[in-house]
């Protein structure tokens, strides 16, 4: 079923002559069936390829065939394959620079960059002898070279500009930066996209991915409102058939919204198998500090792995707020004894708490604007505002 090298090469040539970027991308993809063609496993394909193809496309193809060769070895030589893929990527940069005012080869760039990332990940997994994340970071550098060419293409018309390829690359780079925990590198990329005049005309799937990552980054910067905005966009626009992606978005969206005072609907959580948040929400609503801690402890691993443990921990002071609000509802007074708060804490199972700590917790709530009032240390009382002593979190 597979043809000879020459068949393959003439296929490449035809796609290039037809300006068919998608097809060309397939010819250089590591996920296409042609990778199983033993005829293509050539250690030194230079002569063969140079006869058929012009520079710099020949370099892209030569490097690609070498990648196939190294991956076909037993065991696969990921390191060499990666090096060749990086060479292929640099050749794509040359190709992009050569093709002024045309952008048909963007799909090729997407494909080569995507495979570069996959290979870098494989190296990180299988190879030794470098600091973790190093290969991925190098891969990111290669992609940045592509990105620069795309971002600098300002003169071409809106249909033909290579700037249309920016968002795809930015998303790939986000994936790397999140993986190697270098979120600060995202900032210039976001700025480049936000300054783009046609930022809303990128394809919807790319926009969803982009907003998902920007939302997560905002979350790490404690920009919760911004995070909700981006993540909500991603969630509502992501089609229902991608339910695992929707679930992924919700994992971040739900706790951030909880922090801003919105509790999730049970039916929604049920649909995406995220009932853990329902339990958390119940404990939060009840002000049950101990139960809240218990749930966090129980799901510690899941929360850590999905990167929201620290965020969930921030909900703790909201739990305190809700508990103390109950004290107010019971006492129906604007002068509340600090001892009552201490008893409330002890009632929900916080055994190792002192009156000093109670003071500090209440003080913190006042400072954050979650309680309106002041503490009188001499009388050991919290004097709360007659109007709106516990302002709704949604407005805070």
């Amino acid at each position: 079923m597979f043809g000879t090298v020459n068949n393959y090469l003439s296929g490449v040539l035809r796609s290039a002559e037809d300006y068919d970027g998608d097809n060309l991308g397939t010819f250089l993809s590591l996920r296409d069936v042609h990778v199983q063609n033993h005829n293509l496993y050539i250690a030194q394909p230079e002569k063969l390829v140079e006869r058929m193809l012009k520079s710099p496309l020949d370099e892209v193809v030569i490097a690609h065939l070498k990648v196939l060769y190294y991956l076909a070895q037993e065991p696969p030589n990921y390191m060499e394959a990666y090096t060749q893929q990086a060479a292929s990527c640099s050749a794509v940069v040359k190709l992009l620079q050569q093709l002024k005012d045309e952008n048909w080869c963007l799909p090729l760039m997407y494909r080569v960059c995507l495979d570069l990332r996959y290979l870098a990940q494989a190296c990180e997994k299988h190879c030794r002898g470098f600091t973790p994340g190093n290969i991925l970071e190098k891969a990111a550098d290669c992609m940045m070279a592509c990105f620069r060419v795309c971002a600098a293409d300002g003169r071409a018309s809106e249909e033909e500009t290579k700037r249309l390829g920016m968002m795809n690359l930015v998303n790939q780079l986000f994936k790397i930066y999140f993986r190697i925990n270098k979120l600060h590198l995202c900032k210039p990329l976001i700025r480049a996209i936000e300054n783009c005049t046609f930022k809303d005309s990128f394809p919807l799937p790319e926009q969803i991915t982009y907003k998902y990552f920007v939302g997560r980054r905002a979350m790490f910067d404690s920009n919760y409102r911004e995070a909700v905005e981006y993540l909500s966009y991603a969630f509502t626009h992501c089609p229902d058939r991608f339910s695992s992606n929707k679930r992924l978005i919700l994992i971040y969206l739900v706790p951030v919204k909880m922090l801003l005072g919105y509790l999730p609907r049970k039916s929604l959580l049920e649909r995406y198998d995220l009932l853990l948040f329902h339990d958390l929400a119940l404990a939060l609503k009840a002000g049950n500090v101990n139960q809240f801690d218990e749930i966090v402890r129980l799901h510690e691993l899941v929360l850590i792995r999905s990167g929201i443990y620290l965020l969930v921990e921030k909900l703790k002071f909201i739990v305190y707020r809700n508990l103390f609000k109950k004290v107010f509802i019971i006492r129906q007074s604007h002068q509340l004894d600090m001892g009552d708060f201490l008893s409330a804490l002890q009632f929900v199972g916080v055994t190792d708490v002192s009156i000093d700590e109670t003071h500090c917790i209440v003080a913190n709530l006042i400072y954050e604007g979650k309680v309106k009032g002041y503490i009188s240390h001499a009388h050991n009382k919290l004097v709360i505002s007659k109007q709106n002593p516990f302002p709704p979190l949604i407005l805070a």
Binding site: R128, T131, P132, N181, F220, I304, G307, Y309, L310, E313, K314, K316, F317, D356, E357, C360, I361, V362, A363, N364, I366, Y367, E368, Y374, I375, S376, H377, A378
Partner: protein
Amino acid sequence: MEIHAIVRGSCERYCPDAEAKMQVKNSILKKLLNYFEYKNGQKHVPGVLVKEFTRSAADAKVPKAKDMRTELCLNKTVEYLLKDILLDVRKPFHWVYDFIFDRLRMVRREIVIQQFQARQTIKLLEPTIMFLAYSRYRLCTEPIERFDPKICNQHLQECLNMTLCCYKELDDDCSDHKASTLQDVERRCFIESLYQLFNLGTPEALVRGLTLPAKVRENAIFSMTFDICMNYHRGNLYRVLVGLPQLPHILCAVAAYKLQMIRRQLLDIFTHAYNNKQLTVPTAYLLRLTLVEEPQVLTEMCGHYNIAVTADRKAVHFNKTVVNSTVETIKTQREPFIEAKLQRIYLPEVLLLKKLWL
């Protein structure tokens, strides 16, 4: 990736012969040796020389084996510096610091040139971290001409990052059958704790702390430290301040760099919470919470942030409209409770992590 032949040091002295000769020659001409390198403080009689830090430069030749020290010798050098020189009281400590800092920096450079394995690197870097952490505290009140905390912090962070990477490498390396000894793990937990406190409140440190292997997370010192860090993250400063004095010596000293900032945050919270024209808050309560022992110190602190203290100094008057929120945070101070802890230990043993005196 090119692979150069790795040069292994063969020199068994603190300072390779060629360099020692040159230094001595230079010292006669113009550039004097370091005070600690003269014999018994005598003039002109060279004593024990230790290889000085030099930058890598484009024109410098690749060092030869005899110009570099062996692993054993590097370890001995570190021991010599952190015992004999550290305890030398003939000169003020900032002299001692400058000398050791420079010589340890050269040790670090040799680790890089000789491309030591993770285990070897850890052994040499751990004492460097301890030394920098201790000195950062001990010299915190010195003027900038004598001690630059920024540079010290930078180097401390660099050493920590390098060491942490080595730990991770050992964690990931399943082929490494030489299991860590209990003592290795204990040392690591101490250094991991130090990293957490040094980077208190940063998400990177917290994420690392959460994903460490169980043997570290379950360690008593580490879990105590990490608890403090998590409480800081949650915003529960009370638990942070209660927890700090429970930490051992050097960790307390590292926490001291953050203490003034935490105190300020607490006072800031209190100016909002106890904000009232008539009411006051007793000094005793604040002393207890802020870990300040002398009322005088608290009064000065309040004065600095423009928080009024009553005439009899028994109470503090919080008023959020007058508090000075733009003034710089007070510089790190030496704290009596930390001094007391440091007095009880034999410093060289702790800095070399031979015995942690827990």
